[in-house]
Symmetry: C2
Subunit: 314 residues, 2 copies
Amino acid sequence: MKTQASPRLVDLGEDEVVRELTRGLPVDGSVVAGAGDDCAVLEYGRTGYYQLFKTDCLVQGVHYTPDTPPKLVGRKALARALSDIAAMGGWPTQAVITLVLSPSYHMSYAKDIYEGLAEVAREFGVSLVGGETARPATSSGRTAIVSVSLLGLLEKSRCVLRSGGQEGDQVFVTGTLGGSIKGKHLQFQPRVWEGRWLSEHFKPSAMMDLSDGLAKDLPRLAKQSGLGFQLVYQRVPRSPGCELAQALNDGEDYELLFTVSPERAESLKASWSRIFPGLPLTHIGWLCPEDDSMASEFDELGGWDHFQKMPMAT
Amino acid sequence: MKTQASPRLVDLGEDEVVRELTRGLPVDGSVVAGAGDDCAVLEYGRTGYYQLFKTDCLVQGVHYTPDTPPKLVGRKALARALSDIAAMGGWPTQAVITLVLSPSYHMSYAKDIYEGLAEVAREFGVSLVGGETARPATSSGRTAIVSVSLLGLLEKSRCVLRSGGQEGDQVFVTGTLGGSIKGKHLQFQPRVWEGRWLSEHFKPSAMMDLSDGLAKDLPRLAKQSGLGFQLVYQRVPRSPGCELAQALNDGEDYELLFTVSPERAESLKASWSRIFPGLPLTHIGWLCPEDDSMASEFDELGGWDHFQKMPMAT
């Protein structure tokens, strides 16, 4: 009898790996939402509030280059986790940090990473309550990894999961998409205030932050709501100098992607432009039944399509 | 004018690095104890309770070898953090995991790590609520890192910090020390129940878990209490086959080190042997004024000394 070899991680997508690993994990009644959303949502002692819990990890050579100023590395490491708290409608409270650095790094490099962490922590009222360091194996070359775990809080009534989208809801995105690698990926503004405002005044039916690009993240959001989606390519807000494919695929936008019922959409747009005049809010599509037959073919004149037929970045 | 170059991490001790990095971090009124104890201690919504928050990181080639069965890697990763929760007198609640694995690993390796994590999570009632994966930089060889962040809870009245030791308190240690590398470092039992029992019945004045060896950890505990210590070498409980130097220096014992006032020590010893008959509890010394002049010279017949004159492992 032949046994099937386990596939290598390189042959699997990240979603597949995470899905496989987090299936059937132990959870108890304290867990409102576990692995699979932007943050875990936990019962909290304070009546009427949930606690949010998120971990994220920044790897040199993957998420930034050896040339990246270490202050910006620290900034990005915490800002990414903040973006996930924002995507639930919550506010951040405390974080712990683990730094894995080869011993050949200078102390000033590590301190600059912490300075970047502390700066963004102060900006968003986050307490940094723990800092571990570890040395990588000597065989692993020059390694630098910053792991951040972040707690947050959220009124139960304002909790927005990825899974709450309803058929016909309008899909919105903040800011502009694409070209983050030119600099925004290090200096983006996590949309914490925007997420708080949304969860208070126009509670989205579903929300997430855009980290892997609209082309990956919109299908995730729709799928977790048990739905499909229709996207108007022409409406996708592109960052200056970006083609559609970049806006769809580049990733690291750290903007909010969310859905709102059509009845509230007009009022949302009007209020948004008053409250956040500097930040575009764009209606880019709709949630629709998952059934493929509901998706029309891609139309060269511009129209609806599933991402399966989307122009891919080369 | 010459500027002084920042030292390399390799030239600094871990304590010094962490102290430098965590100095002046932003904290607010929600933080009872930040970086520097076994866990961060945070105000919690539920009246009468604190929340504990800890992050820890396991690196292949440092904390385990490439041959270590991955299930034991997962087990150890979570058990180390559990040991820190135990050292505060608390109980663990939820954890999130980040796995950094080279793409050449098989999926079965990652799944086995998670199986080990889930097994020890079930044993201690921990919910695993998030699992991130990241790929290391391609330049960093075959890398495997498991980062765990763990939450816990604790009655305010039972919170034990490292800093509460009083002059004259007796120093106790659970279990036996040394030789962990032969296997215990992968299969130790985090002393969660023992820590809970202690914090309820004989609340220690100070407590920590022994991860770096008594020779490093006892001075840390004493120093954080603003005191020195006296240690009776002959009393240090050695694991089978271990010399004194190993019991002092090997590290990774994951036993509890704590201090209790002399008035309560006799009663503690009697109760302990009834409740935990299989686990030794040993009175190994005292807390004393930090002033060096109070420490007697090392006595070949056995006596008191500061660790500065301790036999070091070679």
